[in-house]
Subunit: 206 residues, 2 copies
DNA sequence: GTCTATATATCGATAGAC
DNA sequence: GTCTATCGATATATAGAC
């Protein structure tokens, strides 16, 4: 059909990355063999070592990229906030970028959320630190809202986990071809998160 | 210290179950070898086959038990509801049993929530059906509340996922020796779930 | 019901021809 | 940068002695 650029015929590092990401996310790191990855890019396992030093090196490469893109999406969303944003603005911004990333980049999200244990000890520690940094942003916004009296919660730490994790789970079930657009999805989660932190009393008895 | 019953000295099927559950939950099914399981109960890998026909048979045994206990906890909680419970009563009941199970039985929860893909195709289908049945209970309560006008949500399906999944995540971080009791934890999640479904308008403008 | 020994397959990774 | 061939380790599972 289409003429294919000469450079696209041979297996490149990027093709390997793409194949490995999909298989690591779907089947798990330890269930995916170098032969599996190689065959899905049309080469033999030994040839993978011309591009990556080891299987773990592929996982680490993918993990770093995934975290970088996750943090970049968050930073981009923050940069688009209005001047003097309210805590509600900040919460909606973070939840939207969080959910949108997990919906649009489900393989990267699954990698970051469930395959870190396969990393070497050194890489694992770095990954956990990046995840902690990401999660801290959400916690800070929630704490700010509590301080300013616009958010209320029994436990800020647990509520932060709950908001982050309900968004993370999106990568496991959301399909773009389903009934919801990513924009619909984000609006739903922003609404849920806002209600979870609402200061309005639910019971008016007594 | 204590005299040990004669029967408790040799490796039994239950000891194997306990060791396998912990390792499958912590390291994943495919990262756990029969040698790993055998050595942690003090026998050789070949001896495991006197108790289970295969590695997958161990996983299936554990998965079935975990689902049975999850459903039993739910049924027990439902049986203790007052007469003519409100949708709020039912929601609190389900969220409490859900969160308590995931906090108290974290290894079983991790197995059921992230190791199903390692099952044989037949067993996988049965497991997914049991999970769907469990999740449907939560959905029905939410739908009932919406019908009766005491719950409001943009999307009942997504809200059901969100409530279930924020509770499932508890198995990944909750530690009994931490600052929260299971009872504390359940109260927090009941509060969050109730707020997520609150019909009170958050914005009073216009 | 445990063990040793082994069958058979596959794993990550390397060496060296082309 | 690909390949074939192979190494050494390890995987699940089985056979048979005790």
């Amino acid at each position: 059909m289409h003429p294919v650029p000469e450079a696209a015929i041979s297996a490149t590092a990027d093709e390997i990355r793409e194949a490995a990401l999909e298989q690591f996310a779907r089947d798990g790191y330890s269930s995916t063999s170098m032969r599996d990855i190689a065959s899905s890019v049309g080469i033999k396992a030994a040839s993978l070592y011309n591009h990556f030093g080891s299987k773990e090196a592929i996982l680490w490469d993918l993990t770093l990229t995934a975290f970088e893109e996750l943090l970049r999406c968050r930073d981009l969303a923050i940069a688009n906030l209005p001047d003097n944003p309210t805590p509600q603005d900040r919460l909606a911004c973070l939840v939207t970028s969080h959910v949108a990333f997990h919906a649009r980049n489900s393989n990267q999200a699954l990698l970051v959320n469930s395959q870190l244990a396969a990393l070497s000890k050194t890489h694992y520690r770095k990954a956990v630190a990046m995840r902690a940094q990401y999660e801290a942003t959400m916690r800070e916004v929630i704490d700010e809202g509590i301080t300013k009296g616009v958010f209320t919660t029994i436990d800020a730490r647990v509520t932060t986990f709950a908001i982050l994790q309900m968004g993370m789970a999106v990568s496991g079930w959301f399909r773009p071809e389903g009934p919801l657009t990513v924009s619909d999805l984000c609006a739903i989660y922003v609404d849920l998160a806002a209600k979870m932190l609402t200061p309005l009393p639910l019971k008016r008895k007594e």
